[in-house]
Amino acid sequence: MQNGKVIGGPLLVADSISLAFGGVKALSNISLEIREHEILAIIGPNGAGKTSMLNVINGFYHPQEGTITFKGETRRRMRPHHAAEQGIARTFQNVALFKGMSTLDNIMTGRLLKMKRSLWWQPIWWGPAEREEIEHREFVERIIDFLEIQAIRKTPVGRLPYGLQKRVELGRALAMEPDLLLLDEPMAGMNVEEKEDMCRFILDVNDEFGTTIALIEHDMGVVMDISDRVVVLDYGRKIGDGPPDEVRRDPEVIKAYLGEAH
């Protein structure tokens, strides 16, 4: 890309993934890889299996066939919290936040995995536990600054407008310091200005922390602008994979999803 970032080898490889719910085939024989430091966009019409693919990657769904290799470790089944432990964070299409908690507490939950050591110290609220809490709080404050949500730090997220909720959700995922960040329609339901902000955050995260990002998005302008590579799904099959410009010209992709200018 323009700033000369280096895209590395594959961080995650999905090999011949097939997933069915009863008789409905959600994914058939899909292979894709996500390379280190890249921004990969997964696009396709509704029901193409995009979200199912993310759910397979972070362990919500267990595919009937195929394997996932993440950081060199191959697995067939995985629990979501193991995926989180290994460094996969995600956001959800319909915003899954802890609605009763404040913005700050929501983002703090992203640090839970990092706070292992002093469980038995915590009730005493002194010494190591206090230090640890302060340390994590500082980290979370940096994320809050980065996402420009200082003003809603203490607001229960249930009260926030949708665009801000999406931003808080991103913040929670970032608090996990993930190696792989999965974003399910991060810009759905946003106005132009909010979309621009979100694009900036995504690019900055990728740029500054080198986080690998796989995102699902319907806004083709956004996809073509920010992604290094695009994978196209249709009816649970992969029909395209390549740089944005190449995918945009692919006749099959145009037929299935992009449509032609008439």
Binding site: N58, F92, K99, G100, P123, R172, M176
Partner: protein, 298 residues
Amino acid sequence: MGPFLEVLIGGLLTGVLYSLVALGFVLIFKASGVFNFAQGAMVLFAALSLVRFLEVMPLWAALLGSAALMVALAVVIERVVLRPLVNQEPIILFMSTLGITFFIDGFGQSLFGSDVYPLDVGIPKDPIFIAENTFEGGLLVDQVDLWAAVVAGLLVLVLALFFQRTRIGRALRAVADDHQAAQSVGIPLNQIWVIVWSVAGLVALVAGIMWGTKLGVQFSIALVALKALPVLILGGLTSVPGAIVGGLLIGAGEKLAEVYFGPIIGGGIENWFAYMLALAILLFRPQGLFGERIIERV
């Protein structure tokens, strides 16, 4: 003054016993958003197992055995009921706890028998007189109730430290709020459920010991759970201190109402007073005295 205090103290102490049952409800609700209808059945199950274990082993072993049984029950419930229902609506999980209730009631009684068993774990049962110098004749207090108060106090202290102060507290609130999101930040849902249901099982054991000592271990102690419902509504479903304060208010309120208003309208108030109070609370403060306000953007 003497009789009033005697009624008040008696009421407060009975309230503690309600609180013990209500605590179990609160724990599970806080941690999974599930209203566990089976808490009363768990109290009965724990008490039944203890009483039967006591027939063949010393107290410490029986206590350990019953505790282990409650933990095993938690593991089974998580495995068989909760895990397949992850990400379902709270009402569906609630319905499943109705099923659990019937199962535990039936299973417990076919395993341990359905007679009335006296339970004696060494708690003195004789009522005692206190403050004999201040009031003429002193105040009559049930010793079992006093013990229950001490135990409940300790229990709340431990639970409060465990759940409010540790990162588990934050994890629990997260799990209660949204299963999927909780999993995605790395909270092991299944383990959390086992922990919480185990703790609720142990609380049920404590409640079972107290109620069993007072009334004998019999099916009707499963029904004391019904008295925990108004306590929960009063104190708030999500608050541990709320369960305690709610229990105290209900216990004291119903005894005082019985003694002072009962004669005016013909008595028997004690049986329905708690529910009336709960109804009034629902009208004016649906989240209870200490419950979390549910905020919803519409």
